[in-house]
Symmetry: none
DNA sequence: GTCTAACCGAGACGGTACGTCTCGTCTTGCT
DNA sequence: AGCAAGACGAGACGTACCGTCTCGGTTAGAC
C-alpha cells in the first residue's frame, strides 16, 4: 500500500499506518459532503477508504470523534487579513468565514456536531480545543489589536465583540438556509458599525483614545 | 386505551385516535430531551408511547417529520412583551428567546434539525412554515413598529435588524455551549444599541454610549 | 414469497412464515454437506436461504440449535425391516444405519454435534429427545421382540444388546474413516452372533426359552 | 523466559524456544478442557500461554493441527496389562480406555477432531499417525497374542475383534453421554465373550454362557 | 567479536462473522 | 379502516478472531 510512512511513536507493535489515517479522513470528508452527517455510516467510510472497519474504530471510537477529527483536518485556518485597517480586516474575516461555511457542503455538519457536543462533554472538549480555539485565537488577536488601536468600542468585552460580529452572519445562514455575498457584506458592515468606536466622528473618539493610551 | 376521542375528518373507516397522536408526540419530546436527536429511535418512541410502530409511520413518515412536528407542538410561541418601549421589548424578547432555547434540553435538537433541513428541502419547508415563520412574524411586527416609531435605524432592513438582534445571542450559545442571564442581557443590550437610531441623530446614541461606559 | 402457509398458533402479531422455516433448514443441510459443521456460518445459511439473519436467530438462537433441528428434520427414520427373522432384521437395520451415516456427508456432523452436546445439556436434551429417542424406540422394540421370541440372549440387557450391535459398526467408521458394505455386513454378522441366543444349536435354547415363557 | 533449552537442528538464527512449545500446548489443553473444541481460539491460547500469536502459527498453522498435537501429547499411551490371561487383559484395556476417555474433559474433543478429520485428509493423516496408530499397535499385539494362544475366535479378523471390543463401549458413551464403571465392565465382559473362542469348540463357550445366565 | 538470520512480544492490517438493533414494510386478529 | 403485535428483508452497529505483516529487541550459531 503506497508509501506507508510510519509514525515515530517509538511504541511496541506494528505502528499505525498514516496511509490509513489519511484515507479514512478523506473518505469521511467526501461522504459528509455527499450524504450529510445523519446518513454517514462508519461502514461506508471504511469501504470508501478501502480499509477494514476495525481500523476506523481503533482510531476514532465513535462517529462523532471521526467527524470532529475530519472537520478539524479539513476546515482550513482562517486567513488573517492585514490591510492596516482593523475594522476592514474584521469585516472581511467575518464575512469570509460565514460565506465559506455557508458555501461548503460541510457547513451543516458543523451544526450537527455542535448539537451532539451538547450531550458529550468530551466531544465538546475536542471540538473546542482543535476547532474553535485556534480560530478564536485569530479573531481575538485582531479584536485586541482593534481595541488597543482605539478602533473598537472599549466598553465591549472581546467576546461580546466577537459575538456581535459573527453572530448575525451565522444566524442569517441558520434561519434562512443561505447567505449571499451581498447579504454577508451588508451584515458584516452593520455589525462592524456596532462594535466600532463611533460611527461618524473624529474628535470625541480621539480624546477618549488618548485617555486610554 | 382511555377515552379514545375520534378525529372529525369525516373519512371512511375507523378514524385515527387522537390519543395516539398525543402519546407519540409526548414520547418524542421526552426521548429527545433524554437521548438527543441522533439517538432518537422511532422504535423507542412507539414503545414509550405504548403504540405500534406502524401507527407512528402512518402519521409521520420519517424521523425528521416526527421531530419537527414535536418541536412545533412543544416550543411555545414567543410571548410578546409590550411595555410601550419597543427597544426594551425587543431586548427582552431576544434575550428571553435565546435563554429559553439554551436552557431547554430540546435546544440542541433544533440545531440538529436545521442541519438536516439543509439537505431536505421539504423538511426545511415544514420547519420554516410551522416553526420559523410564526416566530418571525411576531419579531417582524415589533421591528416594523420600532421603525415606524423611529426608534430603530431606518437604514437597516428589518431582516438585518433581526439578525443583528438575535444572532449574537444564538452564536454565543452555539460556540460556548451555554448562555447565562447576565451574558444574555449584556449581548441583547449591545445588539439593541447597534440597531437603534444612532447613525443620523447623534446625541441620543452618544448619551446611551456614555451610560454604558 | 410463494404460497406462504401460515402457522395456526392463534397468537397475535404476524405469524412466522413456514417458507422461511423450510428455506433455512434446507440451506443448513446443503451447507453442512458442502462445508462441514465447523465452517458452517449462520450468515451463509441466511444468505443461501434468501432470508435476513434475524429471521434465523428468531428461530434457533445458536448454530447448534440450528444444526440439531436440521439433522432431526433431515435424517429419515430408521426403516423397520420385518422379514419374520428378528436377527436378520437387526442385522440389516444396524448395517443399514451405519452405512447410511457413513455414506452421508452429514454423518460427520452428527459427531460434531455430539461433541458439543457434551457441554450443553439443553442441546443434549433436544438431540436425545428428537433424534436419538425415536430411533432408539425402533431398535428397542425389535430387541424386545427378539428377546420375547427367544432369539436374543436373555442374559443381556436391551441396552447392552443395542451397544453390542451398533457399536462395532460406528466405531469402525469412526477410527478408520470409512465403512464398506462388506465390512458392515461382516461386523453386523459378528455382532449378531454375539447377542443371539446360541450360535449353533437348537435343543438347549428351546429348553431355556420355555423356562422364560 | 526461564531456562530456554535450545533445539539442536543446526539451523542458523535463533532457535525456537521450547518454553513456548510447552506453554502453548499446556494452554491448549487447559482451554480445551474449559471451553471445548468449538470455542477454542488461537488468540486465547496465545494469551493464556503468554505468547504472541505468530509464535503459535509458526508451529501449528491451523487450530486443528494445534489441537491434534495437544491431544497426542496429552492423552497417555494405553497401559498394556499383562496378567497372563489375554481375555482379561483385553477386557481391562478396553474398559479402561473407554472410561478414561469418557471421564476426561478432552474426550469430547477427540470426537470433534474426528468430525473435522472427515473433510481434511491431511488432518486425518496426522491423527492416524500420531494418535490412532500407536494405540492400535498395542491393541493389535494383544489380539494377535490372543489368537495365537487360541483364546480368540480365529474366524474373526483382528480389526473385527478390535471393533467388537471397543465399539460397544465407545458407542454407549456416545449416545448416552456417560459411562459408569459398572456399565463399562458389563459391556467389556459381553464383548469379550463375543470374540472369545466359542464358534467351533462348543464346551468352553457353553460353560461361560452358563456362568453368565 | 562481530555479523546476521531467526526468533520473540506486541500490535496494526484487511477481513469475515458474530449477535443485536433499528429500519420501513407487511400480515395477522381484533375493534 | 385503524389498532397492537410482531415477523419480514435489509443493513449498520460495535466486537471478536482470523491469518498476515511490521515493528523494536533478543539470542545464538556462523564468520
Amino acid at each position: 500500500m503506497g508509501e506507508e510512512r510510519k509514525g515515530a511513536t517509538g511504541r511496541r507493535g506494528r505502528p499505525r499506518s498514516t496511509d490509513v489515517d489519511r484515507a479514512v479522513t478523506a473518505a469521511t470528508i467526501e461522504l459528509l459532503a455527499e450524504q450529510g452527517y445523519a446518513r454517514l455510516t462508519i461502514e461506508a467510510v471504511a469501504a470508501r477508504a478501502g480499509v477494514g472497519r476495525p481500523a476506523v474504530y481503533r482510531r476514532w471510537p465513535t462517529k462523532d470523534d471521526l467527524v470532529v477529527h475530519a472537520l478539524v483536518e479539513q476546515v482550513p485556518p482562517l486567513p488573517v487579513p492585514d490591510t492596516g485597517d482593523v475594522l476592514r480586516d474584521l469585516k472581511e474575516m467575518s464575512a469570509g468565514f460565514a460565506l465559506r461555511l455557508a458555501g461548503s457542503p460541510l457547513g451543516r455538519t458543523v451544526l450537527a456536531v455542535h448539537a451532539e457536543a451538547g450531550r458529550r462533554p468530551d466531544l465538546a472538549e475536542v471540538l473546542r480545543h482543535h476547532y474553535l480555539n485556534p480560530r478564536d485565537a485569530t479573531i481575538r488577536a485582531l479584536i485586541e489589536r482593534g481595541l488597543a488601536e482605539g478602533h473598537l468600542d472599549p466598553a465591549l468585552a472581546p467576546d461580546t465583540i466577537r459575538d456581535l460580529l459573527f453572530g448575525p452572519l451565522i444566524y442569517h445562514w441558520l434561519v434562512t438556509g443561505h447567505l449571499t455575498t451581498a447579504t454577508a457584506n451588508n451584515l458584516a458592515h452593520a455589525a462592524c458599525a456596532a462594535v466600532s468606536r463611533t460611527v461618524t466622528a473624529g474628535p470625541v473618539a480621539r480624546t477618549e483614545r488618548r485617555m486610554q493610551g
